[in-house]
Assembly symmetry: C2
Homo-oligomer: 329 residues x 2
């Protein structure tokens, strides 16, 4: 029916767990072309009812903390225990900054050769809002393809965490043990979101600082108000290289999911997140309708200069632009 994708066929293959179909479907979702966006919406509609309830885990930390090697070790442990793991990323800056997460699949050597793992780099361009939305839709596709654990990597430098927080059930913060003031450079807001703090690279020289660092982080976490979920945030440590500590981390994430499922927090958080994405999608579509209207472009160009130079008030201009505009579907 549709060109170049047959959406029904693609959806069927995806739901059957076909990885090539999943990769193709994500490419469709990431496309910014009008026609492909319509197909993407159809695809999501076909896949959504088949999405299983996965564990969605966000993983953050400053560059250099070892997110990729951690995900390689942690993800492999998950697949060993019978899980199917999808690894996604939200990093809108990756097009610009080098040494970026997931750009290099070879950083996840074990996982990239694992038939029960699926790794997808971050969409290469777009605004944070756009990338986040596409990632949210990609989660649905992965769940429809049978992945029961979704790991979402994000570079720990700012607003990406808030975006990721709107789509995960659990938020893991990776840090390094250092001798100095180890809390520096980690934003308060990010600490506050964490459901689990992991001191990575607990090996070599760093290992001697781990104990002290653990105490510092535990102390810092005490300064925050209690989590709404009632969960007490543990501080664990691991070596992603040797694999030590990974078992305990797996146990801790399982405890977390038991806790939030039993207490009803998981359900409530997902309801809020779904409400957020509904509003977000409506807002996006309303803006799209307005800005993609050819008549808007002509009138915007004319008015924008006058608004920027202060000749016309932005509110007067907005009113003028919208006065005679209506959307015909």
């Amino acid at each position: 029916m549709s060109q170049p994708f047959d959406i029904d066929e693609l959806a069927q293959k995806l739901i059957a767990g076909n990885r090539v179909a999943l990769a193709k479907a994500i490419t469709l979702v990431e496309s910014t072309r009008e026609e492909q966006q319509l197909q993407s919406a159809e695809l999501i509609e076909a896949c959504a009812p088949h999405a299983i309830e996965s564990k969605r885990i966000g993983i953050t930390g400053v560059p250099g903390v070892g997110k990729s090697t951690f995900i390689d070790a942690f993800g492999s442990k998950l697949t060993e225990s019978g899980s199917k793991v999808a690894v996604l990323a939200v990093d809108p800056s990756s097009g610009v900054s080098h040494g970026s997460i997931l750009g290099d699949k070879t950083r996840m050597e074990k996982l990239s050769a694992d038939p029960n793992a699926f790794i997808r780099p971050t969409p290469s361009s777009g605004s944070l809002g756009g990338v986040a939305r596409k990632t949210r839709e990609t989660i649905t596709l992965c769940e429809a393809a049978g992945f029961d654990t979704i790991l979402i990597e994000t570079v720990g430098v700012g607003q990406s965490e808030t975006a990721v927080h709107s789509m995960v059930d659990m938020f893991v913060l990776l840090v390094l043990a250092t001798a100095g003031d180890e809390l520096q450079g980690i934003k308060r807001g990010i600490m506050e979101m964490a459901d689990l703090v992991i001191i990575n690279k607990d090996d070599g020289e760093n290992a001697s600082y781990t104990k002290l660092s653990k105490a510092s982080y535990q102390q810092a976490l005490h300064l925050f108000p209690a989590k709404e979920s009632g969960w007490t945030v543990p501080v664990l440590s691991c070596s992603s290289l040797s694999g030590s500590g990974i078992d305990d981390i797996l146990k801790s994430t399982e405890s977390y999911f038991n806790h939030v499922r039993v207490g009803g927090f998981l359900e409530m958080q997902r309801a809020n997140q779904n409400g957020y994405w509904l509003k977000h999608a409506i807002n996006e579509e309303l803006n799209h309708r307005f800005y993609s209207d050819p008549s808007t472009k002509v009138r915007m160009e004319k008015l924008t200069d006058d608004v920027k130079s202060g000749k016309v008030s932005p509110f007067v201009a907005a009113r003028e632009l919208l006065k005679n505009w209506s959307y015909k579907s």
Copy 2:
């Protein structure tokens, strides 16, 4: 023509500098009633061409830092030097939290009796976005009424600063001199916005710490990248009670405005701000049209439950809601 305000008459009086008319006009702008919002748009349209280019200065600092007494002293100095000063506030939380800024005009004893000053408390309710927009519109009204300096007070606890930053030319951060770790509690983002840091309450016991505090703040400011405006952020001190230091602060703000006017930064920043508000106003109106449509409410209620419970994907629901919706003006 319109009830209960005659917009033309109100605009004329306001432009002539009538304070009662200005107060009435702001009340109209702050109204959330549909009919009054239309009148408010007409009013802004009539006033905007008469707005003079004022100096718009944002003033922030944590509760207790003495913002009101500082504005009383600084504003009085401004009117003495021939300025007409309007004092506004952005504090969406003021309806809830007590001890709030500007709630009590008596905190600005001199200024509230000054014929060349106009003090307006923060709108008592509404979302941050809503309050910010109304404040932005109120600036235009004050400028049309001949006020050449607009001071915008904001409580230094979070997002309000970002909102205020989208409407001011200069951002002033008030802090206290303390013996301890004086940078604690001030967010990095707020320090980064500051064009001038003032150590307030440089009197009594505090005075002995001022010198050390100045050095700490100067050092902290060095850690930030250079300002886009090319301006070097000074750290000054004053006693709002005795008035000492206020003259230097006045001189420093004048230097700042000279600097950004000559360098073209002021013009560029205002152009960006106007562009931001144009987009903001368009977005607001598009959402208003959708959510205030009676048919939306009925359909939203039906779908929201299914979205929240995860039965329907938020993106599928958004598409469904918007498919047959169009706005008729």
